[in-house]
């Protein structure tokens, strides 16, 4: 016979699903941030076995530098995803922003440069283009209430076309020194772009975890009506986030430009897929409200470590791309298994 339950509980008695039983879940939830750390360690061990130079400082710096530019796109995308939107146009901004700067500052005669402004203006122009793209995105998405996916898909094509247009499909060379400095300088024996990347991620962690503004991104992505009801100015937060993301993409583009001392018409082309994959592997939900900046960082780090191992293992360059796609899918499947929940 069924056991007899007590009559309706007196006030103060814990509800049946008491908090004690849920504590392990709490601990797990906080560990999710570090979910990829074991995988990163495992890859490090495999890499060391494949080739003994893997863990040497030079190689690690090499990995960090190659990922530093695109990792800023991952940071930008993570912010936009957490607030519940998506921005595909980041990869085009990544090329267009330094492209416009080069176009206006490179002397006439080299490529399609106009030579209108001195080299001093290159960085301000890059950042301004980032702001402008963010404003246009926000105008369509926030002000006119259009779907973020389709708006930024349109922007992706428009911005790429603009870069092709101003460059005539060619590569900008002979860039002013101010444009190449950040991407090529060494600070304390480590490339400046690594410092910048780590610094921006640290700021991201701080803002998202420890400021009211950062927390409002989670609130909006989690339940926009509840966020509004709590008095958050949701539209303003969305504007700021979309603009910040485009500016981060512009900075990323500037770093790559500096490293390569050129702006190709295809700079950033196709990068958005890696960016999304890294963010999702790093635990950022495509549905918004979930994920951390640190997680996103581990996502892109893992992907670049795997690529590096493949290169060291002597996999032919023609095959890297196919393997890359396969790795992203495998990583997604693994993160689904370890995360336990259906990917949203």
């Amino acid at each position: 016979m069924p056991e007899t339950t007590a009559a309706p509980a007196e006030t103060g008695r814990p509800a049946p699903k008491g908090s004690a039983g849920s504590r392990p879940a709490l601990r797990l939830a906080r560990l999710r941030d570090f979910a990829l750390v074991p995988a990163i360690i495992a890859i490090a061990i495999v890499g060391q076995i494949v080739h003994p130079i893997f863990l040497q400082a030079d190689n690690i710096i090499n990995i960090l530098q190659t990922m530093s530019e695109i990792s800023l796109l991952v940071l930008a995308q993570a912010l936009v995803l957490i607030v519940g939107k998506m921005d595909l146009s980041l990869e085009s901004t990544f090329g267009l922003a330094p492209g416009v700067a080069a176009w206006l500052t490179v002397a006439v005669g080299t490529g399609s440069g106009l030579g209108l402004l001195s080299g001093f203006w290159a960085i301000p122009i890059t950042l301004a283009v980032g702001v402008l793209v963010g404003v246009v995105n926000a105008l369509f998405i926030v002000r006119f209430g259009l779907n973020g996916f389709i708006v930024t898909l349109g922007m992706l094509i428009v911005l790429r076309g603009l870069l092709t247009g101003i460059s005539g499909g060619q590569t900008f060379f002979n860039l002013p020194e101010s444009m190449t400095y950040l991407g090529s300088a060494m600070w304390f024996g480590v490339p400046a772009s690594i410092w910048i990347c780590l610094l921006l991620f640290a700021v991201g962690v701080l803002v998202m975890g420890f400021t009211g503004f950062g927390r409002s991104l989670y609130a909006i992505g989690g339940n926009v009506d509840a966020a509004k009801a709590a008095g958050i100015r949701t539209d303003r937060v969305l504007w700021i986030t979309l603009i910040a993301a485009s500016v981060l993409a512009a900075i990323g583009g500037l770093l790559l430009t500096g490293r390569l001392a050129s702006v190709a018409a295809a700079q950033g082309d196709g990068a958005i897929f890696t960016v999304f994959a890294a963010a999702v592997i790093g635990g950022v939900s495509l549905n918004g409200g979930k994920g951390t900046v640190f997680g996103a960082f581990t996502g892109i780090l893992l992907l670049y470590m795997i690529q590096n191992v493949l290169t060291l293992a002597g996999v032919p360059a023609q095959w890297i791309e196919a393997l890359n796609g396969a790795i992203i899918l495998t990583a997604l499947a693994l993160s689904r298994l370890t995360g336990g929940k259906t990917q949203e």
Partner: protein, 509 residues
């Protein structure tokens, strides 16, 4: 914001709405309606769907401006709509739709957008956790504030929302159908909590479809009908019949149910369930339903009744055991197979599984019978609309036509669309899961009468519910407790017998 405007120190009505009129285009949502709530009382607001309750709530909480009329709190005019903080100090509402953000912790949900900061203007998590824990303790809500809110049950989530509302300083709380998703024991705990808070000086406006709850917890009741105020009276002085009459505008009380003709013992067995088991959800269930028989599956949340019903309808696959429908054995966990075997289903939650809100009534009602809409997989719009029109008449769905999107219908009519969809395939077995949840009194009576009518034509019916009104029309009711069928009650049981069985309490042990 200052102490001079503090709403708690006044006498007279804590909140008052006077001659409120609100129109949406052609529709008049409120027509000169009024309500007065005195401090310390628990005031019920009842009315059928579309009576204007939700509009009144959104005006009382400052989400919308009335076209005419005025709101006063403690005798003073309400703040302007833009002054959210001022509104929050006067009134708070726990909506049916949760405003908790699932990924954030309980503490953060409580102090969203008013985080504690440390010297560096950064969020100070420690002091926020402390503050949140203190707040919950003040109102004796026992929840770990560092838990992500998604781990909370519906009940705990509501308590957190109430505590949050109180933390803004409001002592007037609107509860919009707080019991809709709770089981009996949780409702009792909610009421205990409400009584304790009333002692601490909290005033409630309580909205519910369940009249017995109003008699249990409320002091005063206000009835709205067709956008107007009908009456306000002390609950104790208002007989149930009069209350129902005020809500429906008809002089009749709840209809007395006629005794159903008994099912012949030699009627065909439509549903034969043997040894059905799925882990902890339910175990060892045997069940036979004959043609024309209505069998109830009663039990609280977590008793396994819903999961069992879903298994019968093919939404889930059991670990062990078999389900046979009219001599066929549909593949376990396959809805198409179950449909083909003749099962019609009204799922648990119409918003979640029942309807596709943006699609038309016609599309929604005919979704289960594509083969009747045309040949070779093509859909004939004319045929679909014909079929839908038939069902609209059959189920008395209030709509201008079959092309209206279902989200334009009231709750009761939406539920009728779900029922129509289940009936479209002329099922041999009808499985209903909480078929009258969130539905007004009249629609409820209509739906239940329809179920009886269908059973009368020889369809076997299974109703999984914890609503006594749903269970009352069953020929027999199997009561489940923690996954097992513990009791079987024949028609004619007393309410207290049923409630005791569902709670797992033995009356005469």
């Amino acid at each position: 914001m200052g102490a001079s405007t503090s709403p708690s120190s006044v006498t007279g009505p804590i909140a008052e709405a006077e001659r409120i009129t609100k129109r949406y285009g052609e529709t008049v949502a409120l027509d000169g309606a009024h309500i007065t709530i005195t401090p310390g009382e628990t005031h019920a607001l009842v009315g059928r769907n579309g009576a204007g309750k939700s509009t009144l709530v959104s005006i009382l909480t400052g989400l919308q401006e009335p076209d005419e009329g005025a709101i006063r709190f403690g005798g003073r005019p309400a703040p302007r709509l833009s002054e959210r903080d001022a509104w929050r100090e006067r009134v708070a509402c726990v909506y049916q739709k949760s405003t908790i953000i699932p990924e954030l912790t309980v503490a953060e949900n409580l102090y969203l957008n008013r985080h504690d900061h440390n010297g560096l203007r950064l969020v100070s998590w420690k002091s926020m956790w402390k503050k949140a824990a203190d707040l919950l303790e003040t109102w004796s809500v026992d929840v770990d504030v560092r838990l992500p809110a998604k781990e909370l049950g519906v009940e705990q989530r509501q308590f957190v929302e109430i505590a949050r509302a109180l933390s803004f300083g409001a002592r007037f709380i609107i509860l919009d159908e707080p019991t809709a998703q709770l089981d009996g024991a949780a409702i009792a705990r909610l009421f205990d909590r409400m009584r304790a808070m009333r002692e601490q000086g909290v005033t409630f406006l309580f909205i519910s479809h369940h009249l017995q709850e109003i008699y249990e917890i409320c002091d005063t009741v206000t009835v709205f009908r067709d956008a107007r105020h009908i009456l306000t009276a002390p609950v104790m002085e208002l007989p149930r019949g009069d209350l129902v009459a005020a809500m429906t505008g008809e002089a009749a009380g709840l209809q007395e149910r006629k005794a159903r003709p008994s099912v012949p013992v030699d009627a065909d067995v439509i549903l034969d369930v043997r040894g059905l088991t799925d882990g902890d959800l339910y175990a060892g269930v045997d069940l036979r339903v004959r043609a024309g028989e209505i069998v109830g599956l009663a039990g609280l949340g977590g008793s396994g009744k819903t999961e069992l019903a879903e298994t019968i309808a093919g939404l889930r696959a059991p670990r062990e055991g078999t389900v046979e429908v009219a001599g066929r054995r549909p593949r376990a966990g396959s809805v198409p197979d179950s449909l083909a075997a003749g099962v019609g289903l009204v799922p648990r939650d119409r918003h979640h599984q029942g309807l596709i809100p943006l699609m038309s009534i016609a599309d929604n009602t005919t979704m289960t019978v594509p083969e009747r809409l045309g040949t070779a997989g093509l859909v004939s719009g004319r045929r679909r609309d014909e079929l839908a029109r038939e069902m609209i008449t059959n189920l008395a769905i209030k709509t201008p036509g079959p092309e209206l999107p279902v989200n334009g219908l009231s709750g009761g009519n939406q539920q009728k669309v779900v029922m129509a969809r289940a009936l479209a395939s002329d099922p041999r077995l009808l499985v209903l899961i909480t078929p009258t949840a969130g539905v007004d009194v009249r629609s409820k009576e209509f739906l239940l009468a329809k179920v009886e009518e269908i059973a009368g034509k020889g369809t076997g019916v299974v109703i999984a519910s914890d609503e006594l009104d749903d269970l009352r029309l069953c020929d027999r009711v199997l009561v489940m407790f923690h996954g097992r069928v513990t009791t079987e009650l024949a028609a004619g049981w007393h309410d207290h017998e049923m409630v005791a069985a569902m709670e797992g309490v033995e009356l005469d042990a």
